[in-house]
Structures are given as C-alpha cells and as structure tokens.
C-alpha cells in the first residue's frame, strides 16, 4: 500500500517537475528589495516579456549582496542603487558598462511623537544630528545595502558614528528594508527608507514621513550587464536586450507610468 503511494508520488512529482525547467529563454537579474517590494518590477516586466519572449527572473536582495552575487556570476544583469559601488563593480571588470535608469529619493520616517523634533525639516544631516543627540531609537538596515550605504554617508556628513551606540538607541537590523520598517514600526524608531518601499509598505503603525526633499536624499538606480569575460555563461544578448529596453523609450515610459495610490514612485532618467 505505502509502496504504491510512494510510487504514485514519484510519478506525480516526476511528471510535473519537468515543465519547471522549460527551455524558454530567461535572464537572472540581481536587484534590490525596493524594486520588488514596491511592485515596480511586477508592473513593468510583463511588457518586456511579452515583447521579447525573454523571461526575467528577479532575485531581490540588498545592493551589497546583489553585487556580491553578480561578482560570483550568479546573474546576468545587475539593477541596484549605489552609484559608487556600481562604478567600482565596473572598474574592477565585473560589469561591462553602467547606465542610469531611474531615481527616486530617500525619506526619514519616524514616530508621530517625534522626540528629536525634526518634523518638516529639509536638512537631513541636521535631523540625524538631532536624533543622535536625544538618542532617540533609530533602526538601521546594517546590511551593506544601497540604503544602508546612503545612510552611512549621511551620518558621515553629520560627523557622527552611530555604530558606537549600536545596541542602545541605534539598532542595526541586518535585514531588508521591509523587515527594518517592521522593526521601526514595532519600537517607534526613526528609519531612513527609500520612498517606494515606504509608499507600498502596509504596516506603518505610528510612523510617518518627517524629513524629505533634501537633495542629499537623491537615490539613483543603475543597470549593468555582468561581464562575460569574467563569467562566460552570462546570457549576453538577452541581458543586453533587457538593458536596452529598460533605458529605451518603452522601458522608461513603463517606469514613469507606475503609480501607487496616485503617486509616481520612480522617475526615469536614462540618458
């Protein structure tokens, strides 16, 4: 009896497992959680896939991890948001060429009670200084992601090193943007987030945007083809086609037309 069941399970699994590895062309894109969690990629990719028949498989992790995965060759295209790290990636020969794709901005989110009294300010560096002075809870990604790198740059400008206070008012979650927002929401902490993830985040609790609009909160996304000289298995033509599409008129228009609750989340700026 049991033997028959197991045999039946084998057959069922064997038969249905086959289509998973279908032979349709695909590329693997190493990208960041913000492009996925915001719903942008789910919105724009079907257009590209319908036009080209190329399936785009997105692995959404932090920028730091995405770049490391790409260095290992585990992706054909890199779509992330940390220009310095991207330029370094290309300079080191891991990527072919970097193109601007789109931008949005970071915002400082915090509890309505706003213990550091930063609400309405336009100066992000002054706001962070105020947070560190009153030692108000601050949740940091702490994961070498694009947002984390941006946050560390801002602390640098504020001439502060909050990691000295790690574990007290400064909490490094070591997790993605969404998980970090959940932590901040749970303990009423300040947190730096990209606007797209914030806009699509469903568990805001007592948090709201307190500081926005500082030019230093600019958040640029870039796209790079992984260098086939380093990893011959890179799917060059399909990957290049995706890049050309995304920085071309169709892709740029698709990015611009994505709105959540009436608000545009990403602004195309390919040259």
């Amino acid at each position: 009896m049991i033997r028959n069941v197991i045999r039946a399970a084998w057959i069922a699994v064997g038969l249905t497992a086959a289509p998973v590895s279908a032979e349709e062309p695909f590329i693997v894109v190493q990208s960041t959680t913000s492009t996925q969690n915001s719903g942008l990629l789910d919105y724009i990719l079907p257009g590209f896939e319908a036009e080209t028949g190329i399936d785009v498989r997105v692995v959404a992790v932090g920028t730091g991890q995405a770049i490391r995965n790409a260095i290992n060759g585990d992706g054909d295209v890199l779509l992330v948001h940390s220009k310095l790290a991207e330029d370094q990636f290309v300079a080191d020969g891991w990527g072919v060429e970097r193109f601007d794709v789109m931008y949005n901005d970071f915002v400082l989110v915090g509890p309505k009670s706003d213990p550091a009294k930063v609400r309405g300010g336009m100066d992000i560096v002054a706001a962070l200084t105020a947070v560190s002075e009153v030692e108000a809870p601050f949740a940091s990604r702490g994961d070498d992601s694009g947002t984390h790198k941006a946050e560390m740059r801002l602390w640098d400008w504020a001439d502060a090193d909050p990691t000295d206070a790690s574990g007290t008012w400064y909490r490094e979650t070591g997790s993605g943007m969404g998980a970090t927002l959940n932590v901040a929401s749970g303990m009423g902490a300040y947190v730096l987030t990209d606007r797209a993830t914030w806009q699509s985040f469903g568990n805001r609790g007592d948090l709201e945007i307190l500081v926005e609009g500082d030019p230093r909160l600019f958040n640029q996304y870039g796209i790079i083809l992984v260098n086939p000289d380093k990893h011959p298995q890179v799917r060059v033509s399909a990957g290049q086609r995706f890049i050309d599409w995304l920085i071309g008129p169709d892709g740029q228009a698709a990015i611009a037309s994505y709105k959540l609750e009436g608000q545009q989340l990403f602004f195309p700026n390919a040259k």
């Binding site: 009896m1 049991i2 069941v5 197991i6 399970a9 084998w10 699994v13 249905t16 497992a17 998973v20 590895s21 693997v28 959680t33 996925q36 969690n37 789910d42 498989r57 997105v58 692995v59 959404a60 995965n69 260095i71 290992n72 060759g73 585990d74 997790s175 993605g176 943007m177 969404g178 998980a179 927002l181 959940n182 929401s185 699509s200 985040f201 469903g202 568990n203 805001r204 990893h231 298995q233």
Partner: protein, 226 residues
C-alpha cells in the same frame, strides 16, 4: 486577502511548488537516509558512535548555513556552477535533502536498532549477516519509518532560510509558501502573511492526516494477512 479567498491560480501554483519540492526532497532523503541509518544501526565498526553523534547533531544544522553551502557549490564561481542549477527548484531540493537526510537517517537508526536487538537471535539462527538483515529490518519497521518521513517533510515544507538563498524567491520559478510569507511580511502585509501561514499549517495537517490514515490502513491489512 483576495489572493486567498479567490483561490487564485498563482497561489495554487505556489502551494503546488512547495509540495513538489518538499515531497521530492523527502523521497530522495529517504532513499539515502534509510539505508544509511539502518546500516549504522546494525553494523559494528570503530567510529560508529562518533558517526551517530554527528548524524544526530546534523539534525540541528541551521538551514541558513546549508543554504550558504549549497549556494557556494552551485554558484557560477563554485565547483558545480556549470550545471546552472542555482535559482532553480532543483537547487531547493538539494538544500532540503541536505537538511532532511540526517533527520530520516537518525530516526531510522533508532527504530532499526531496537528492532535488530529484538530479532538478533532469530536473524543469527537463520545465518543472516548483519548488513544483509538491513532490508528485512527496514521492511519490518516500515510503519514506524513513516513517522521519520513525516518529520523530514515537516522540516522541509516549513523551511525558509535555505530555499530563499538557493532559490532566490523568483516569482513563478522558485517562490514557495515560506518565501512568499517572508516577502509579504517584509512588505508589511502582515494579515496576508498570516493567512498564508494558516494555509501552510493546513497543508501540513492534511499531509500528516493522509499519511497516518494510510499507515493505519496498512497496519490493518498487515494484521489481516498475518
């Protein structure tokens, strides 16, 4: 919430993939783990105790570490990179096999060791060598071994740390129940994540109920034939 209430095709595809990956992983683990466990139960050789302790310890192998090891093997810059298995369901099955095999092997070892002691006189009088008795003992322990399979299945279907690393949580390719729950949690969609969790528990209950009914039936049939 609509995703669940409408019995969305996408949701069912995710459920199906979860089941497919975990069932496949458990079957492969059983093929490896049961003979190994049984052999360890009956064989006597130096270092056997150490192996048993090691195997028992591996039951607590952190999934994230397994995910990382399998990632390093399957990465294009890893030794098995040419196989292009990373970010496929096969990669997830491999990771789960690594996690589940020690559980099945350790539980099999325990069950078979008890049986072997019970039957040691008979087996010896029939002139059956220790290792040759393995298939007989496994067959005799089959009902108890179902529990080992279920324990393995429970570990596999509930696991997220390893499959999210080697599968990449790619929509329509490697997204399973647990990685969907992780994704929805990170989007702050806590109600949806909880609802998906409830479905996952429901599946686990259904599978356990089905298997226990089958083994009960088998037990009755066995009694009738005896």
């Amino acid at each position: 919430m609509a995703l669940i209430l409408n019995g969305d095709a996408e949701l069912w595809a995710i459920v199906l993939l979860s089941l497919k990956v975990s069932i496949f992983a458990v079957l492969i683990s059983a093929l490896i783990g049961m003979p190994v466990g049984a052999a360890l139960a009956v064989a006597r050789f130096p270092g056997r105790r150490v192996l048993i302790v090691l195997m028992n310890a591996l039951m607590g192998f952190p999934p994230v570490v397994v995910g990382l090891l399998v990632y390093l093997m399957l990465s294009r810059s890893g030794p098995l990179g040419v196989l292009e298995l990373l970010y496929t369901p096969t990669a997830m099955i491999i990771a789960q096999v690594v996690l589940v095999t020690p559980i099945i092997a350790a539980l099999t070892r325990q069950v078979v060791e008890m049986l072997a002691e019970e039957y040691s006189e008979q087996l010896r009088s029939l002139g059956v060598s220790r290792l040759a008795s393995v298939p007989v003992l496994l067959w005799d322990a089959r009902l108890a071994l179902v529990t080992a399979l279920l324990a393995g299945f429970g570990r596999a279907i509930a696991e997220v740390g390893a499959v999210i690393i080697v599968g990449g949580n790619i929509n329509h390719v490697t997204r399973v129940m647990t990685t969907t729950i992780a994704l929805e949690t990170s989007k702050g969609n806590l109600a949806l994540a909880l609802a998906l969790g409830a479905i996952l528990i429901g599946i686990a209950v259904a599978v356990n109920a089905m298997v226990s009914t089958l083994s009960l039936q088998a037990e009755r049939e066995g009694l009738r034939h005896a």
